[in-house]
């Protein structure tokens, strides 16, 4: 809350994007912000909001004007001490961002993931078979714990090379991290008592000797042996995997499972044409935007349509609103497999675009391919329940009913 006077020529909103009712259903606020103008001042937080696709996209790619080094949450690292050591990926600008990014991009590249494809497909079949056996009577289950959480937790920690013990810390750590990008509200307060312990566990997993040979973690350390990053950077790059690689994929999977359960005709379509699957996941990421928002900080006085954002002010980019901007998308609120979702900003855009997007796609492809083989229809069996997070659009529970083919 660095600004005391309201800026001229900019629509002002006193809405709280992090209030429980908005987190429950952000669509009305998104529409209000998009229609108010290209830039809206959020008086409650003294931040500038972008909600239209064109402007969110432009801000995402312009790392010179909208750097990330002062934090990608509301907290401004120019004035405030970050709660943890800043990420070398997410919260770092060029040139320091370059080397860690190159290393992680390589470790998580589609070809590097190819060696996991068969194993993950087999794991997904086992998981789905077990699940369907367990619910054979009713065909009803909660898709969040049974699939959206179970699959990433089954394959991702192994791929990183984490020990078995303590993996239950991953989801609450990620949940708090993504809450902490928002204001210090009730959601953050709820996590605060536990975060010291969780963060200590996560940090301890980043050490070379903890990580199994051959995994993503060991490959990051191997990059430091080659001099591509320093030994001081290696544990922080591993930490990025553990921070951003679990909750996000859980909510991405939940998004597509919900999308199909809520749109049974789209499941019929993908069953008829299974190669729509890969596009389906990106359409679900567009439609749901599991990562809803990120902040940037103005570097110098940055002109935006109708205003100038003063140096050091925070800009909040509404990825979820951009992904449903009718200026960019036809029938934006429909989950539609005939759509080409290319260019959505659900993974961000530009130099910070999600480095793990190929991991997320492979996880989704694995689970959905296994489901497609066994499940003829899927529908909601009850009202799904949201999980509130300051940054993530998440589900607590998605009761579904399936008919096995």
């Amino acid at each position: 809350m660095t600004t005391t006077s309201l800026p001229a020529h900019v629509p002002v909103s006193d809405a709280d994007p992090f209030a429980p009712d908005v987190l429950e259903d952000p669509a009305p606020l998104h529409e209000e912000l998009r229609e108010a103008g290209p830039v809206v001042f959020l008086s409650r937080y003294g931040a500038y909001a972008l909600a239209r696709y064109a402007h969110v996209h432009a801000a995402l790619v312009d790392w010179q004007s909208f750097p990330s080094g002062a934090g990608v949450g509301l907290s401004n690292f120019r004035h405030e001490t970050p709660w943890r050591k800043p990420s070398l990926l997410l919260e770092t600008d060029p040139p320091r961002h370059d080397a860690p990014r190159v290393v992680l991009e390589r470790v998580l590249s589609p070809r590097a993931l190819r060696r996991l494809r068969e194993q993950w497909a087999a794991d997904a079949h086992l998981l789905v078979d077990e699940l369907l056996r367990r619910v054979a009577g009713t065909g009803e289950f909660d898709a969040v714990p049974s699939l959206a959480q179970a699959f990433p937790l089954r394959v991702f920690p192994d791929a990183v090379g984490l020990p078995q013990e303590g993996r239950e810390n991953l989801l609450p750590y990620g949940d708090h991290l993504f809450n902490a990008f928002g204001p210090p509200n009730e959601l953050v307060a709820r996590g605060n008592p536990h975060i010291g312990r969780l963060a200590a566990w996560v940090d301890a997993q980043c050490a070379r000797e903890v990580l199994a040979p051959g995994g993503f973690g060991a490959q990051i350390w191997a990059a430091s042996d080659r001099g591509d990053i320093t030994p001081q950077q290696a544990p922080l790059v591993v930490r990025s995997l553990l921070s951003a690689g679990v909750d996000t994929t859980v909510h991405g999977l939940a998004a597509i499972l919900h999308a199909f359960a809520a749109n049974p005709e789209q499941w019929r379509r993908v069953r008829a044409e299974p190669r729509l699957l890969r596009v389906a996941f990106d359409e679900a990421v567009r439609w749901e935007s599991p990562v809803q928002t990120f902040f940037r900080t103005a570097q110098g006085d940055v002109p935006l349509p109708g205003t100038v954002v003063p140096d050091g002010e925070k800009i909040l980019m509404f990825l979820g609103a951009a992904n449903r901007d009718p200026r960019r998308w036809e029938r934006p609120d429909e989950f539609d497999l005939t759509r080409d979702p290319s260019g959505h900003v659900g993974f961000g855009m530009g130099i910070h675009q999600c480095v793990g997007q190929h991991v997320a796609r492979l996880e989704a492809e694995s689970v959905l391919t296994a489901l497609l083989e066994r499940v003829e229809t899927i529908e909601l069996a009850g009202a799904p329940v949201r999980h509130h997070n300051n940054t993530l659009r998440a589900w607590e529970s998605i009761p579904v009913r399936v008919r096995v083919s």
Binding site: D62, Q64, P94, G227, Q233, R275, S342, I351
Partner: protein
């Protein structure tokens, strides 16, 4: 851009020559911008672009401008006497206002983090190192540059380098003895990263002297190294989609992606420039002509995947897992 028989599929951006300046004997610097005034693709020190010649051949030039300026690239071109004509064409025929098809940028010579750098440039090999010096400055690293050339008049960017004081050591051949690069490398602190770009003999001397150092300590780029050739084929090729059995013909003027889209085959893409890897597609048969910035030498040699937004075929036929 219908320029006759020459295919330009790998040219991923057509840029405008905004400025052309002589910066040393036989060296011109070109400032390239996006014709509409938009952002150019991001790059980091060590990156180069491809410039597509009227023959369809390509030449690589290191970006030697300011990466914080998203609106302009700078390259510097030495006229190669007895060369294959690319540099002469850029010197003699390309004027400001001309549109140049380009590819990239891609980076096979990245600056890795270190507290100390020793930069060694031979002649036009200064170009990839210039942005590295700027970066070392931003990072607060210790660095020195040893810059060799025939004579001061032949060495570009001496004016820009002047502000760095005695961290820049000039070694014009007509003023003194040849730089003993082996001794220089031997004397460098153990933790220093040594970057060299120059003629093959210089690079090899640096690499020989650096051999006992830890892996990754010495990084070099030969500016006379193998140029990326023009697209291997200028004739159409066949793409067979294994899952559907469909067969398509890709004309020289179209990308594989365009041909797929034309046939109603949906492939997810993001950057459309061979940078992000989103459209990577498994190759089951045939040999791809890799034109992307993502795959490394081992990936290319394996030949089992390609980025369909920019890459093409060496063989008459590719079978894709689509």
């Amino acid at each position: 851009m219908g320029t006759g028989r020459t295919a330009q599929p790998a040219a991923t951006a057509t840029l405008l020559v905004a400025e052309k300046d002589r910066v040393a004997d036989d060296v011109v610097a070109l400032t390239l911008v996006e014709p509409g005034g938009g952002r150019l693709r991001d790059w980091a020190p060590g990156a180069h672009i491809d410039v597509v010649l009227p023959t369809g051949e390509m030449r690589q030039y290191s970006l030697c401008g300011d990466r914080f300026d998203p609106f302009a690239y700078r390259i510097a071109v030495r006229r190669e006497e007895g060369g294959r004509g690319g540099s002469a064409w850029l010197h003699d025929s390309v004027r400001t206002g001309r549109l140049l098809p380009t590819g990239g940028p891609r980076n096979t010579f990245p600056l890795v983090p270190s507290e100390e750098y020793v930069f060694i440039a031979g002649g036009i090999g200064i170009t990839p190192l210039l942005p590295m010096l700027a970066q070392a400055e931003v990072l607060g690293a210790r660095w020195t540059l040893h810059y060799c050339g025939r004579s001061r008049a032949s060495m570009p960017f001496l004016d820009e380098l002047g502000r760095h004081g005695d961290r820049v050591r000039l070694h014009p051949r007509d003023e003194g003895p040849r730089l003993d690069v082996a001794a220089l490398v031997a004397a460098a602190p153990a933790e220093a990263r040594i970057y060299c770009c120059g003629p093959v003999a210089m690079v090899e001397a640096v690499e020989r002297a650096g051999a006992p150092r830890p892996a990754g300590s010495v990084r070099a780029e030969r500016f006379s190294a193998a140029q990326q050739p023009a697209p291997v084929r200028d004739a159409p090729f066949e793409v067979v989609l294994a899952r559907s059995g469909t067969s398509l013909t890709v004309d020289p003027s179209a990308t594989v992606l365009q041909a797929l889209e034309g046939a109603g085959v949906r492939v997810l893409t993001s950057c459309g420039q061979g940078l992000c890897g989103t459209c990577e597609t498994t190759v089951l048969e045939g040999r791809p002509d890799h034109r992307d910035s993502v795959l490394d030498a081992a990936d290319r040699a394996a030949g089992d995947c390609m980025l369909v937004c920019v890459s093409r075929a060496c063989s008459d036929r590719l079978v894709l897992d689509l």
